[in-house]
């Protein structure tokens, strides 16, 4: 097929093509790296012409050197990878090691002052860069939903999907749309809601303090230095505060981060906390589950269902409706405590948990030794076999990536050049991850659909495996910037990407989160490639 004329690419950049022509250009963009480069150049050129003709100031241009492939990267990356790997192993060892008192400061679990620092950082951010902070909070809260909605809307608008997707969009709107309610936004403002006062709808506060003595008929989002709730919140409470005192009523759940957190309230939902010091006072009652992470946790009140907590010192004097599970350095269950279900303690040593004689435990008590470097999950980092298998998997991913590039280069042509595109891929990936298995399950229930479900399942699992390779290639290409489309240049980029991703996904805790993100983004990119390839192969449909 002959390359598209440049004027058509120019018209594509100007957004002046018909839908059919646009699909033709998109198909060419999938196929040809030169077309992609040309479109980027034309887009920048159009912006420059607009700037010059409208006499707008323009930001400093990127120097040409920045465009060149980073040659030093090929040497620097292995060194960086090695450093990260060593840090990961040493960090894992330190996490579990019982160090002599003199060098205990090396232990990352030693969180003395960490919570104070964390809250200092949060408030510093809020005060120094309020816009940035609020943007982050807003993005975190709405990012995934917005990405999902944007994808559905754009797909429907472009008429790429039939009635099924339209139905899905409508269903999403119906099920996801929150009930209409007013939002009372108080930024840089302290709020004192006195007794007898009522706020209808959601309250968002970012200020010095929030005191609630009245009633809020909605959710509360607060980022304040001091917060007290002596009144009533009929929705959920999301709060970050230096000092937080809850002694009223919350009908929903509480999600709180605070340096000092004192709960003496009736909470009908769940309670999730991250705090330096947490006290659940004797009169406090949590209707459902209670999750806590902190330095010192004291439970004197009542938890309706499970109590799950991790921290340095843990003390229970009150009652737990079901099970109690802890990862505390030292836990004490005092004689007044009543635990209806099991007690599960993840501790280094049996002596780290103390159950007083009068304490009532309805179920069984299990002590599960924490993983150590020598025993348990983290032990794998100390075995040579682990690294051997890692190397084998890395080589397999690299070889498969090269093979795929030779056979189906279009798979790797997806790019993420902005935050929007990242969130879009994340949203698409999320939809594919959830919707595909449900659709396959429904198809599999019918006799006719069974083969489709089996084939679809195989494709789904393959796509999940390929996500890592696709994202590795994306990372590698954006870092190394291969000079040509040849297998050799791509191979170098892929190797760099695979190395980085392999190391990053094996970092304890973070690696797991990263794997999920990689799977979602990779699925999003693959779905996008599949969509473009499908529409390009159906020119007659594009004409409609």
């Amino acid at each position: 097929m002959s390359p598209l004329p440049e004027w058509k690419l120019g018209a594509y950049v100007d957004g002046e093509l018909s839908p059919a022509e646009m699909r033709e250009v998109e198909a060419e963009l999938v196929r040809s790296r030169r077309a992609r480069e040309l479109v980027l150049a034309l887009r920048e050129e159009a912006g420059l012409l607009g700037d010059v003709l409208q006499e707008r100031p323009r930001k400093a241009m990127r120097p040409a050197a920045a465009e060149a492939p980073a040659r030093g990267l090929a040497l620097g990356l292995p060194a960086a990878v090695a450093v990260v790997a060593v840090l990961a192993v040493v960090g894992s060892f330190l996490l579990e090691a019982r160090l002599p008192a003199g060098i205990d400061w090396l232990n990352p679990l030693r969180l003395l002052g960490a919570y104070e620092m964390l809250f200092d950082l949060i408030f510093l951010f809020r005060d120094s860069a309020p816009g940035f902070f609020e943007l982050c909070v807003a993005l975190a809260a709405t990012g995934s939903l917005a990405a999902l909605a944007a994808f559905v809307a754009s797909a429907v608008l472009r008429r790429l999907a039939g009635p099924a997707l339209l139905s899905l969009a409508l269903l999403s709107i119906v099920t996801a749309a929150p009930p209409a309610s007013a939002v009372d936004l108080r930024v840089h403002e302290s709020v004192h809601l006195t007794e007898g006062e009522t706020i209808e709808g959601t309250l968002v506060v970012s200020g010095e303090f929030l005191h609630v003595d009245g009633v809020i008929r909605g959710d509360v989002f607060a980022l304040v230095e001091q917060m007290t709730v002596r009144g009533r919140i009929e929705g959920n409470l999301f709060a970050v505060a230096r000092d937080l005192e809850l002694s009223g009523e919350v009908d929903g759940s509480v999600y709180a981060g605070a340096e000092n957190l004192n709960v003496d309230a009736e909470i009908r939902g769940n309670l999730y906390t991250l705090s330096d010091v947490l006290t659940l006072a004797p009169k406090a009652r949590v209707g459902l589950d209670s999750f806590h992470l902190g330095e010192r946790i004291r439970i004197e009140g009542e938890v309706g269902r499970d109590l799950i907590a991790g921290g340095k010192h843990m003390e229970i004097r009150g009652s737990v409706g079901r099970d109690f599970e802890t990862w505390a350095r030292r836990a004490k269950i005092l004689s007044s405590a009543q635990i209806a279900g099991d007690v599960v303690a993840h501790v280094h040593d049996e002596s780290d948990i103390e159950i007083a004689e009068g304490a009532l435990v309805g179920g069984e008590t299990r002590i599960e030794p924490l993983d150590s470097v020598r025993h348990g999950r983290l032990a794998r980092y100390t075995h040579a076999a682990f690294y051997l298998w890692l190397l084998i998997r890395l080589c397999a991913a690299f070889a498969l990536g090269l093979l795929l590039y030779a056979l189906l280069p279009g798979i790797f042509s997806g790019r993420i050049s902005s935050g929007n595109e990242f969130f879009r891929s994340l949203g698409v990936g999320f939809v594919v991850l959830l919707v595909a298995p449900i659709a396959l399950l429904i198809a599999g229930l019918t006799l006719v659909g069974l083969p489709i479900a089996l084939i679809g399942g195989a494709i789904y699992l393959t796509a999940l495996y390929l996500t890592g390779i696709v994202v590795a290639a994306l990372i590698g290409v954006s870092l190394v910037r291969p000079k040509s489309e040849g297998l050799r240049d791509f191979g170098l980029a892929l190797l760099v990407g695979v190395l980085i991703l392999t190391v990053a996904t094996h970092i304890p805790v973070l690696g797991g989160i990263l794997r999920i993100v990689v799977a979602l983004v990779g699925l999003g990119l693959l779905a996008d490639r599949a969509r473009i390839a499908w529409t390009a192969s159906r020119p007659e449909a594009a004409q409609v």
Binding site: P3, P5, E6, W7, K8, G10, A11, D14, E16, R34, E37, L38, A41, L42, E44, E45, A46, L48, L49, G50, D51, V52, L53, Q54, E55, R58, A60, M61, A64
Partner: protein, 188 residues
């Protein structure tokens, strides 16, 4: 100036207040003058054209759709007027000769983007390069990138089929790149 800022003046102009037109025209005086100069090439003619554009705008204000940006509407009138002027000036030599266009290849060999040539100091040179282009390339470029009109609106002003606008823009940009590259080469 943002469209929001001129809204009160637009409201008053709609009620027929002559002073409001004066305010609006003062806001866009530089924009219109720049466009006329770029389209017509010489300063005295551009000054005359500017006055005529404001007169036409006031006369045809009833046709202005408040849902559209006023700046674009005003600059479209300027585009129309200047194109008419050029046509009158060059009745003998046709500005848009289809034959010549069809003969030109429509695929270039290299992207040769302007970004490689353009730095902050070279903006003037680019602006001058655009002004020096023959009208058949200059007009679409200016109407597209200065007034931000879409291809259909440009086609209407230039009385050409819409499909031709893409090729004219392409040829205009290719010519501009070449001239800038030649000028840069000549300096070395």
């Amino acid at each position: 100036l943002s469209e929001k800022a001129i809204r009160p003046a637009l409201e008053r102009a709609r009620l027929g207040e002559p002073k409001a037109f004066g305010e609006l025209f003062a806001h866009f005086d530089a924009d219109v003058a720049r466009l006329c100069r770029r389209l017509l090439g010489d300063l005295p003619a551009a000054e005359d054209a500017k006055s005529e554009v404001f007169l036409r705008a006031q006369r045809s204000f009833a046709s202005y759709d408040p849902g559209q940006p006023f700046r674009r509407w005003l600059l479209s009138i300027a585009g129309h007027h200047c194109t008419d002027q050029l046509r009158r000036r060059q009745t003998e030599a046709r500005i848009f000769d289809p034959g010549e266009l069809e003969q030109e290849a429509l695929t270039s060999n290299a992207p040769s983007p302007l970004r490689q040539l353009l730095s902050a100091e070279q903006r003037d040179r680019v602006a001058k390069g655009i002004e020096a282009l023959p009208p058949k390339y200059r007009l679409p470029l200016v109407l597209r990138y200065q007034v931000e009109l879409d291809y259909a609106a440009i086609a209407e002003i230039l009385e050409l089929p819409r499909e031709r606008i893409g090729t004219l823009l392409f040829r205009g940009k290719a010519r501009l790149r070449k001239e800038l590259a030649d000028a840069a080469g000549g300096e070395r």
